[in-house]
Amino acid sequence: MSGRLSCALIGNPSVGKSLIFNHLTGLGVEVSNYPGTTVDLMRGNVCYEREMIELVDLPGIYSLEGESEEETLVRGILKRKEADILIAVLDTTHLERNLYLLLQIAEYKIPTVVVLNMVDEAAKFGIEIDYTLLTNLIGSPVIPTIASEGKNMEAILNAARGNPGIPFISVPYDHHVEAAVRSLSKVYSIERSAALQALVRPEEMDDLAESAQGLATEIEQRHNMTAHQIIATNRHNYARSLGEQVTKRRTPPPRFDLDTLLTRTFPGIPILIAVIISILLLVFTAGAFFEEIIVDLFNTFAIEPFLALNLPGIAAPIGGSILIALQAGLGIAFPYVFIFYLVISIIEDSGYLTRAAFLADRSMHRFGMHGQGIIPMVLGFGCSVPALMSVRLLATRRERIIAAVLVTMIPCSARTVVISGIVASFIGLAAAFSVYGIVFLLVLVTGIVLSRITPGQQFGMILEMSALRMPQPKMVVKKAWMRLSEFLFIAMPLLLVSSVFLGIFEYFGLVSAFQDLITPYSEAVLGLPGFAATALLFGILRKEMAFETLAVLAGTADLGSVMTSVQLYIFAVVCVLFIPCISTIAVLIKEIGRKWAILISLYTVLLGIVVGALLKIGMT
């Protein structure tokens, strides 16, 4: 082997691949106790005893033959032999199920190091593994580890550098399957793994696929089972006998099972609701507290000194805009988004999120989604940007689109600032709640309509419940930090650029020109003064900026003196519904594509204007 050694971590979801990757590379990789969080590939370099090793963290999969994005990705890497060595990570507590994947991996004939992770938890369950026997049976080195404590991590690297063997373990399939595999590999001179894949599910439409389909149909008729079922059954049975050979099981000590509380309708659903409400309360109170501090600090130490400089010409608006954008970005990002991520990471790592998804499955069904859909929805109350990023956890494109639309509409913390700052303080608390009522009603209706009209098939939820674990503070902070930086990376540049543009426009009088232009329309349709329409425009940058701009343009913080209650109410409703902020649009484009991002933006603009106009007609 010349050059750099490249190793790929492969295994079932939540077996500790990312944790091992983390320990080995020292990089901050997201780890979560929620199946399917690694969709983008994480790469890192390890310098171990003066040798460079490239490490790739592959997404968690249950099989190599499926059609999901992750499975296709991993299969491609194995087929093209892009990794010199595979590090197959197995969950020792569920050895049999994990061996099923290992048996498939072995068919690709790549040198492999087998890592048995979570041996400490397995010991608690009374499971003992004969590692030497397993090594002899598989043909590749087997290494027991405890990734959560970083135990035996160097042994993985040592084994990877020590020319690990190609696993020689091979599943004896049903003789019809074996015959089909032999004839396919002979006729098309392909490997056993490729022949099996063709029998199970051909990837391309070619001659191979055609002959494989013919053989598969024949097998199916003979056995009354699909080829995939037969092959899977053979593998499962082999994995079971393999597991039984190497496992010594003592009776596990009885344990208190929290799931008796968490997954029942009662008290599970009250607990779920309490958890969601306390997350929101915590984020809002703590977020508001820190936001105020950050904004104040910025005002005293950056904006005021800058204004005192009295820079000439265009420099002043540009510099001012940059400072305002920084203030806006950091004022929201750190307090709200970071706290939100911290809480969500704790919930994710503890394994509670899968329970929440299970309980929420029924209500999410009404919106054409499954239990997993609750995650973006809850995240959406904090900030739409991370919520939209989490949309990729959903299984089908159909669900992703529905979730993206609804997340965009859910009042995020910035919109809550608008509602509380305008409606609650100038009109009353009841009116503020009625704004929420209107928005929730629209979310509900949109969800129900979307579940009918969105193209694509609906599949049921099949979700492995993660084991309940104590989240590790270090990992939680690391993950929250990773996500925060992802947010800043997307949101900050946009915020800066658009803020500068608006500053320049204002300097050249374009904003007041726009205001003159829009005034007749805004008065006729929404009954709002022209400066309110301009404020709405600023809301595109960041939702609560609409509120701040309104105060600036109105020339007074006492909005009640310049606008009627009806006007304020309409302004708040339109602002909450009206077009997602610019960072949200950017993430929408990234996650579900330009077409849907434009459609969603248009829909929200239309919704805001129509609802505002209806309110105007109804209230005056």
Partner: protein
């Protein structure tokens, strides 16, 4: 073309005679659980169409034509109830009841198509289609019909192509499953190979299981 009642009468005469008993009005009526008076006009009509011979007082016999008609109806019933219980997973009794209704409206071509479909993909009840041939499946019903805490064994998964993930997770024929949790909407958490897996109601209803291995 016969009415539904006439077809039912012909079918029940066939069943009664297969049991080696004389088909009297009394027997036919009790087999169909209707009053004797209601079937007498229909019996007379069948006699008029040369499907049956006999009279109210004694026993009824088939003409060759009558026997053929009766067998056709019986076959429709068997194919339909086999399809309903085997392929769609209805309980055997419910399947038979449904088949009693459907058999009168279904065309010969549909039954032929359904029969050849069952022959190619059926499981053990491809020959004869007698009601008894499906008996081994009567013990098998969708996962959602079993209570929380039950340990059951997988018999089959409907639409296996759509549920590859289930198969990869180890839900294969004969595999023991424990129902850990079942909500009122039939969403379940099951334990397979030591792992807890949450399933939506629509997925859970596709998995067929039975009590004993």
């Amino acid at each position: 073309m016969q009415t539904s009642l006439e077809e039912d009468i012909l079918e029940s005469i066939l069943v009664i005679r297969q049991g080696g008993v004389a088909a009297t009005v009394e027997k036919i009526a009790s087999h169909l659980s209707v009053a004797e008076d209601t079937i007498i006009p229909a019996l007379e009509k069948c006699k008029g169409r040369a499907l049956l011979t006999g009279d109210v007082a004694s026993e009824w016999h088939f003409t060759p034509e009558g026997k053929r008609t009766a067998e056709k109806v019986a076959r429709k019933h068997a194919v339909l109830s086999c399809f309903l219980s085997e392929k769609l997973g209805l309980e055997a009794e419910a399947a038979s009841r449904e088949a009693c209704i459907l058999e009168h409206g279904v065309s010969e071509e549909t039954i032929e198509a359904l029969d050849s479909y069952l022959q190619t993909t059926g499981r053990g009840c491809s020959r004869g289609h007698g009601r008894r041939n499906c008996d081994h499946l009567s013990a098998s019903s969708p996962l959602v019909t079993f209570p929380e805490g039950a340990t059951v064994f997988v018999t089959f998964i409907r639409c296996p192509g759509r549920h590859r993930r289930l198969i990869d997770l180890g839900i294969i024929e004969g595999e023991p499953i424990t129902i850990r949790r079942k909500l009122h909407n039939d969403a379940v958490v099951i334990t397979v190979k030591g792992c807890d897996i949450a399933l939506s109601p629509e997925v859970a209803s596709e998995i067929h299981v039975r009590r004993q291995e």
